[in-house]
């Protein structure tokens, strides 16, 4: 097996007396998509934010590409990006301006060519010069995805990328991500409350509850562990303390 892209060991985050993430350890292999599941407040977002370097862990280590995130933040983050339904792009800039700023921030070579490429792939030609504030939620999701992939990351953190999208756009987004994963060898850490989507997108699942990993493995392994026939039932069992 190749060296993991991400290696998390004993990662813990405490806010005062509250433990948001409690000694979790996992790895993500090159080209692998790992689904991070759990009820609200399970620690998914805090884990994401620690992996993106915007929250400092209380304990534990995060390594990406064999480097410690705390010591090699800039080198690592150049090769990482994220897209979240809950983090929009500046509303007063156009789609293209937002992408140009992102390209410069990440040191992406030949930014304009890359923008042309991403805009075409995500079918955004008609909104390229539109202000972000005038985008629909589906268009904004495409913009945050375009921002995430235009820097050609080696790993992508996706926080509910299809939440609040209609089924047609959600289908297109998933299709784009799968195709992009196939062609680029991208690794992904993926969260969603849609269990079918998690099954469809992920090679492996990690279930979090109250900051702890309580199950992990392939969909089949997790379902077998809980004696259920679908992921939704597993989720409900976990969420209800089963």
């Amino acid at each position: 097996m190749a060296d993991p892209i991400v290696r998390v060991q004993n990662l813990t985050k405490r806010f005062g007396d509250f433990t948001a993430v409690d000694h979790i350890s996992f790895e993500i292999q090159p080209g692998e998509t790992v689904g991070l599941l759990g009820p609200n407040g399970a620690g998914k977002t805090t884990t994401f934010q620690m992996l993106l370097g915007v929250i400092t862990p209380t304990h534990g280590t995060i390594e990406m590409f064999g480097l410690d995130l705390m010591k090699h933040r800039e080198t690592i983050l150049r090769q990482v990006n994220f897209s979240s339904t809950y983090v929009a792009m500046p509303y007063s800039l156009t789609v293209e301006e937002n992408l140009r700023v992102t390209g410069k921030l990440y040191g992406t070579p030949d930014v304009m060519r890359r923008i042309d490429d991403v805009v075409k792939k995500l079918e955004m030609e008609d909104i390229r010069h539109k202000l972000a504030r005038k985008l629909s939620s589906g268009q904004m999701t495409r913009l945050t995805l375009a921002k995430a992939v235009m820097t050609e990351p080696k790993i992508l953190f996706l926080d509910e990328p299809t939440a609040s999208l209609d089924p047609d756009i959600a289908y297109k987004i998933k299709g784009f991500l799968k195709e992009y994963r196939e062609t680029s060898g991208l690794s992904m850490l993926y969260t969603s409350h849609n269990m079918h989507e998690m099954e469809e997108m992920s090679h492996r699942m990690i279930f979090l509850q109250q900051g702890k990993i309580i199950a992990q493995g392939t969909t089949k392994e997790v379902m077998a562990q809980y004696g259920e026939h679908n992921l939704e039932q597993v989720f409900l069992k976990i969420a209800r303390g089963g």
């Binding site: 806010f15 800039e74 700023v101 992102t102």
Partner: protein
């Protein structure tokens, strides 16, 4: 420090200003209004108080130079607030951008704002009131640089407080600088201050700049002592402010406040 990332942030703000009339208005409206009011006051005082002609002409210059300090502070604070208002801090700090590069970009924006306001005010003062801000000659340069640095001090302090205490502290972006105005001796000499306030003014680099400028304009002397104090204090305070900013940034990262500051 990565120049590319700093220029990315500058481009982000220039994109914003290019199409935002209210933001452009904010840069020019208040300075021009101040200039008009103080211009008329200066004319009135010059007509009534024949013996204080030199002093009243200084008012217009003082106003322009106070605005340099104010805009330098605003350049930093408003650039930071723009990121809060657009909830963009997560996008920025999940990228390779460092806290130092972010600060450098806000400083660059502050220089841009100062340059824009100064040009408009200097030209307006010359055109409407025949007041030439360049009568100080080359001594103007170190004074202006010191005023920009003094504005940065207050800007970095304000940004750190907003970062730490959230948007409820936003009002400081416009108010904190005026706390320093009485001890900056902008429109009056330090000698008029009560004895107990003088040490505070002496510890304020802006007060040395304005004292020095009065020296140049009224006595035609180059006040090297004031210039030296202003520069020394600015360097010392800037170092302290950068440490405070970096410390606040790391506390906010530790407490998860960096990504929630606009919520």
């Amino acid at each position: 420090m990565n120049v590319g990332r700093i220029s990315a942030l500058i481009a982000r703000h220039l994109f914003l200003y290019r199409r935002s009339f209210p933001r452009l208005l904010e840069i020019f409206y208040w300075p021009l209004l101040d200039l008009v009011v103080w211009g008329f006051i200066t004319i009135y005082l010059a007509q009534e108080g024949k013996g204080m002609h030199g002093a009243v002409t200084f008012f217009l210059g003082a106003l322009i130079f106070w605005d340099i300090l104010f805009r330098a502070q605003q350049g930093i604070t408003i650039s930071f607030l723009e990121e809060i208002w657009s909830r963009n801090l997560m996008n920025l700090f999940a990228s390779p951008l460092t806290a130092g590069e972010f600060l450098a970009a806000t400083m660059a924006m502050s220089v841009f704002k100062v340059a824009a306001v100064s040009i408009i005010m200097a030209v307006s003062a010359l055109f409407f009131y025949s007041y030439n801000v360049f009568i100080m000659g080359l001594t103007l340069i170190p004074f202006v640089l010191n005023l920009i640095a003094a504005g940065w001090l207050i800007g970095i302090l304000t940004m750190s407080v907003i970062m730490r205490f959230g948007q409820q502290a936003e009002v400081l972006a416009w108010g904190l600088v005026f706390l320093f105005q009485p001890i900056s001796c902008v429109f009056y000499p330090m000698s008029v201050l009560p004895v107990w306030l003088t040490p505070l003014a002496l510890a304020n680099p802006a007060a040395h700049v304005f004292e020095g400028m009065r020296g140049v304009l009224l006595d035609q002397t180059v006040p090297l002592a004031h210039l030296g104090w202003a520069t020394g204090l600015n360097v010392l305070y800037l170092l302290i402010m950068i440490v405070i900013y970096q410390y606040t940034f790391s506390v906010c990262k530790d407490r998860g406040m960096l990504v929630r500051v606009g919520e």
